[in-house]
Each structure stands twice: as structure tokens, then as C-alpha cells.
């Protein structure tokens, strides 16, 4: 269905957009009913608290199209300057990309390829360690539709969906009635594993308060039980969970018809990182000796999964890819944004819809502040404030159509609510790419004067 077909005018100046998509978090709920008055969304039926905040606060702001060194500028001038910066760099970094469309991600990657830079996404400081783990042990995967229709045993590990993905419980994983779980919540057993007893604990049948930085040991204890290995009761001192409780959980896991582990950044951001994710993925794999189990990362940003997909299908690797050698090279730690900035290596940056100046390590921030950067963002951020060129963009999903990937790798179309006077990421990136190619092609042609023509 097109945007036009989905929108109906109910009164002069008042439109209702059916089946719009929320792009704030990785749930990518596509059942929004938006009421639009002029250039504002005034109602967002079906949206959660985060979705409402997303829709109600992304109206058109009165800002310049772009800033060059802090001074207002037009798009054309800013795109010229952006192309100059990126072409002059010897080791440029493209970063961000998790809050824009798949179409824009593809162009950002193409630019990086043309200029021989590094492309990295916010995945590297999110579920990048899980991406490394996928390569180590694989991923027994499933869609959220399968979780909704089949899962009778659900483990949330190192995440707090009640606050970070508020509709996950009701739309996908706990409450919905599904084909093989006709009684919804009554047919499911829910376990929460976390170091904090968060708001999500109320939704679970069992809460396992693991000791901080002991997720790896806990996952391996469960792996041992899955394989029938006897464990010493001292496992409680190590993990904080008694052997009796672990055995009870494993018994339930084995009896399940379809189990799923949904794991968050409590695993990937804590000591162990990719080894924690690897242990949980391996546990899900091991459980398939007994019954059907899957494991899926809970993804944060609206299209961070799309970024993984675009970078993977284009280069063969999910993030942290160097394209300066004429072929893709993947090496987390060497080609990831946090590292190339903290070590002072990148000499220019193209940052799309991300704010590393407020959430990267201090050494990385210090270096980013000192190099030329091109930033695309609908809102003013610390990163945009320090940029050499800062573009004001329209907001994806609200003003701009395209495609995003839900956290289970399912592509979802966007159905924008109202037009913006600002260009989209895609339009700006295409403008920059076009300028870069024109310069490169002009420089590659033989000089007519030199050839005597």
C-alpha cells in the first residue's frame, strides 16, 4: 500500500495515516495510526510511550539547511564542501547509519567504497560482539512471528524490554495468542536473567539475578546441564544462582516445544562481550538436541538491523569494514569506529544519524572533535555542533519513505506522515556521492593539454 492510499483526510487540515511504522526502536511496530495536523503528529494510536515521544517530538524545526563551520549554508554549498572533505581524507570513517533508511545506508556505503574508507555502524557499540559470535558458533534463528505463534518458553537475558522495547511483550513475545500458544501468556513460561531486578522482572515467572560479569559462567553452567554434566553446588557462589534453580530452569527448557533466548546488551557491553554472546548462542544450539530453541539479539535503534544487512550483503561483513585496499577487510578492534578514533587514526568522518560526541569514550571524542567531519541529523546534537558540515535532514519514517529492518531481519516499508522542507539522508548522500564521482572521473581522464589534443 502506498502512503497516499494509506492516508485519509478526515477534516480540513487533518489526516490519518494508517499502518504507519515506528522507527524508534528495533521492534519497528508497523501498526501505527497517526493523526496529522499540518506538520505535527497529534495522535499516535497503538504507539508505546517511546513511540509517542518519537512521533510527537519530530516536527519541523526552524533551522538552516546546513551549517558550514557553524555558519548557515544551503544544501548545494554544503554538499560541495562535504565532498571536498571526504575526497581530501586519507583514512576517512563512515559511521552511524542505524537511524536511517536502508536506501540511504546503501549510498553511504557506496561513498565509503569510492573514497576507500572504513564503514562502521552503531552495531559495533551495540551487538557488534554478537556479530562476532555469529561467525564463531552460528545463529539458530527465528522471526518474531515464530516467537509469537510458537514460543512456549522465553528467556530474556541481559535486557529490560519493559523499558527499552515496551511493546515486545505484548506484540511478540509474551502476551499474544498464537497458533500454537492459543492461550497467550498462560501457555508461555518467561524467565528474566539480569544483574538488576528491573521492571521487566514483574512480567517473568522466574527471575535469576546473576552476579555482575558472570553471564558467561551462567551460560556455560546451563550448557553443562543441557548435556547432562553434573555440576557442583558451588556454582551458586560463582553465578549467584543455586544449582537447584538452574536444574529447574533446564528441566523447563527441555520440556518446551519451542524456546527462544532474547538477549540484550547486558551481555555484549560487559566483560566477556562476544564470548558472552557466543555462550548464549551455543546454549540455544545445544538445546536443539532436546527440542526446538533459537536465540536472537534484542536490537535497539530502528534500523540498526538494516545497517547490518546492507553492510553484510555489500561487503560480506556486518560492520567495521575497511574498503581502502580495493577489497573489503573486516577486523573489529582495528576497523571499528571507537578504535580508529581513540587511536587518532581517522582523518575525516561522515556521520549519519548518530551522536558519537555524546556517547563515545573520551579519547575518541577528543579526536573526532579535531578532524573535519560531515554530519547528517534531523536534530542538533553535540556531534553536529562540532561538525565542519552539519546537514539538517528530514526524519525517516515520519517525513521520508523507504525500508527498515526489524530486529529479526524482516524488512518493513515506511509510510511517512507529512512532508518536510528538509532533504532526506538519501537525497543528501546521493548529492555528495555524485560530486565525489564527478571529481574522481574528471581526475582520471587524460589531460587534453598534455596530450596535445
Amino acid at each position: 500500500m502506498s502512503t497516499t492510499e494509506a492516508a485519509t483526510e478526515t477534516a480540513p487540515g487533518l489526516r490519518v495515516v494508517q499502518d504507519a511504522t515506528c522507527t524508534f526502536c528495533g521492534c519497528v511496530c508497523d501498526d501505527m495510526e497517526l493523526t496529522v495536523e499540518g506538520d505535527r503528529i497529534t495522535k499516535a494510536k497503538n504507539a508505546c510511550v517511546l513511540g509517542k515521544a518519537w512521533f510527537f517530538n519530530h516536527h519541523v524545526e526552524d533551522r538552516p539547511e546546513a551549517l558550514i563551520d557553524g555558519q548557515p549554508a544551503g544544501y548545494e554549498q554544503a554538499m560541495d564542501r562535504a565532498a571536498e572533505i571526504l575526497l581530501s581524507a586519507r583514512f576517512p570513517l563512515t559511521y552511524g547509519l542505524s537511524d536511517t533508511t536502508t536506501e540511504a545506508q546503501r549510498v553511504a556505503l557506496a561513498i565509503t567504497d569510492w573514497i576507500g574508507g572504513i564503514v562502521d555502524t552503531t552495531t559495533s557499540v551495540c551487538h557488534g560482539p554478537s556479530g562476532i559470535a555469529f561467525q564463531g558458533v552460528g545463529e539458530v534463528t527465528c522471526s518474531l512471528g515464530e516467537v509469537k505463534n510458537r514460543a512456549d518458553y522465553v528467556i530474556f537475558w541481559g535486557g529490560n524490554p519493559a523499558e527499552s522495547h515496551p511493546r515486545h511483550f505484548t506484540k511478540y513475545s509474551l502476551m499474544p495468542k498464537g497458533e500454537f500458544v492459543p492461550n497467550g501468556r498462560k501457555d508461555r513460561t518467561a524467565v528474566l536473567i539480569d544483574v538488576r531486578k528491573t521492571k521487566s522482572a514483574k512480567a517473568a515467572d522466574h527471575f535469576l539475578q546473576v552476579k555482575p560479569r558472570r553471564d558467561f559462567e551462567l551460560a556455560w553452567a546451563l550448557r553443562a546441564l543441557a548435556r547432562g554434566v553434573e555440576l557442583d553446588p558451588s556454582i551458586e557462589e560463582t553465578t549467584g544462582i543455586s544449582l537447584e534453580t538452574l536444574e529447574e530452569i533446564m528441566d523447563g527448557m527441555k520440556k518446551a516445544k519451542f524456546g527462544v533466548i532474547l538477549f540484550g546488551m547486558g551481555l555484549t557491553m560487559t566483560r566477556g562481550k562476544h564470548l558472552n554472546s557466543e555462550a548464549v548462542l551455543a546454549l540455544a544450539r545445544d538445546m536443539n538436541e532436546h527440542t526446538r530453541w533459537s536465540a536472537k539479539p534484542m536490537r535497539g535503534h530502528g534500523n540498526v538491523t538494516g545497517a547490518d544487512n546492507v553492510v553484510s550483503w555489500s561487503t560480506g561483513y556486518p560492520f567495521g569494514v575497511h574498503l581502502g585496499s580495493g577489497f573489503p577487510r573486516f577486523n573489529p578492534g582495528e576497523f571499528t569506529a571507537s578504535d580508529v578514533l581513540a587511536r587518532g587514526e581517522a582523518d575525516a568522518a561522515l556521520i549519519i544519524a548518530s551522536d558519537p560526541m555524546s556517547n563515545f569514550s573520551q579519547p575518541a571524542r577528543d579526536h573526532l572533535e579535531g578532524i573535519p567531519s560531515v554530519v547528517l541529523d534531523p536534530k542538533l546534537s553535540d556531534t553536529a555542533r562540532t561538525a565542519s558540515v552539519a546537514f539538517t535532514t528530514s526524519t525517516y519514517g515520519i517525513n521520508t519513505g523507504g525500508t527498515v529492518y526489524r530486529m529479526d531481519d524482516v524488512p518493513i516499508p515506511l509510510r511517512p506522515a507529512f512532508d518536510s522542507p528538509y532533504k532526506s539522508d538519501l537525497e543528501i548522500l546521493r548529492g555528495i556521492e555524485s560530486r565525489i564521482r564527478q571529481r574522481q572521473l574528471a581526475e582520471s581522464l587524460p589531460d587534453p593539454a598534455a596530450s596535445g589534443a
Partner: protein, 117 residues
């Protein structure tokens, strides 16, 4: 005297809401600048809601007001703060070759702080 704690930065719904309202709003600034402390630790350290505390490690530091964590959400010895500028100041540049800096479960020290005149 400074005491050792484990700091967990993380997402909250309030952080998500105020993030959309804008990173320069009072709501967002307050949300990412409030440290949650377990009730037992608040009592032991004779802290009251709103008292300023300094949290630091070998990488950086921040000084923010503290509040008592809800119910039994935090065990003693653990601190929580909404992920943002302050928590990132304690993240080092080293990612141990995986691209992800240590961002949760950070070893930190906490001490009471006073407002400089």
C-alpha cells in the same frame, strides 16, 4: 572515603522519552545525570536523595546527584545511571580488539561531593 562499586549504565523509558524531546532539554539532562544507589548503600553512606556524589575510575569521572533505587531493583554494591554523556566519560578507548569499549559492569569509586562555590 571513596568506596568501590560496580556501575551499570543502561536504558530507561524516561531516557528514551526525553531523548526524543531533545538532548538539550532539562528532562534529558536530569535523566542522564542522576545516579541510582541501593537503599542499603544510601543508608550506610548516610546519603539522602539529591546529595551530590563523585563517581570515578582510571578513565574519567562525573559528579551528579544520587537517588535511592526503587525497591530491590539494585543489589548493594551496584550503581545504575541512564546511558549518556556521564556514563560514557568512564569508558576507555580500549576495546580489547572487539570494537566495543567496556560499557557496563564498570569498576568505579564513589565518594560524597560538595558544590564548589
Amino acid at each position: 572515603m571513596a568506596e568501590p562499586f560496580i556501575l551499570i549504565p543502561g536504558r530507561t523509558s524516561q531516557q528514551g522519552v526525553t531523548l526524543n524531546e531533545g538532548k538539550y532539554t532539562e528532562g534529558y539532562r536530569v535523566e542522564i545525570s542522576t545516579l541510582q544507589v541501593a537503599p542499603e548503600d544510601m543508608q550506610r553512606l548516610e546519603l539522602e536523595d539529591g546529595d551530590l556524589v563523585r563517581v570515578y575510575n582510571e578513565v574519567g569521572e562525573f559528579t551528579v546527584p544520587c537517588v535511592t533505587a526503587r525497591g530491590d531493583e539494585l543489589p548493594p554494591g551496584m550503581l545504575f545511571i541512564s546511558y549518556g554523556d556521564n556514563s560514557s566519560r568512564l569508558m576507555g578507548g580500549d576495546t580489547q580488539g572487539c570494537g566495543m569499549p567496556d560499557s557496563k559492569g564498570l569498576d568505579v569509586f564513589l565518594e560524597t561531593a560538595t558544590v564548589s562555590e
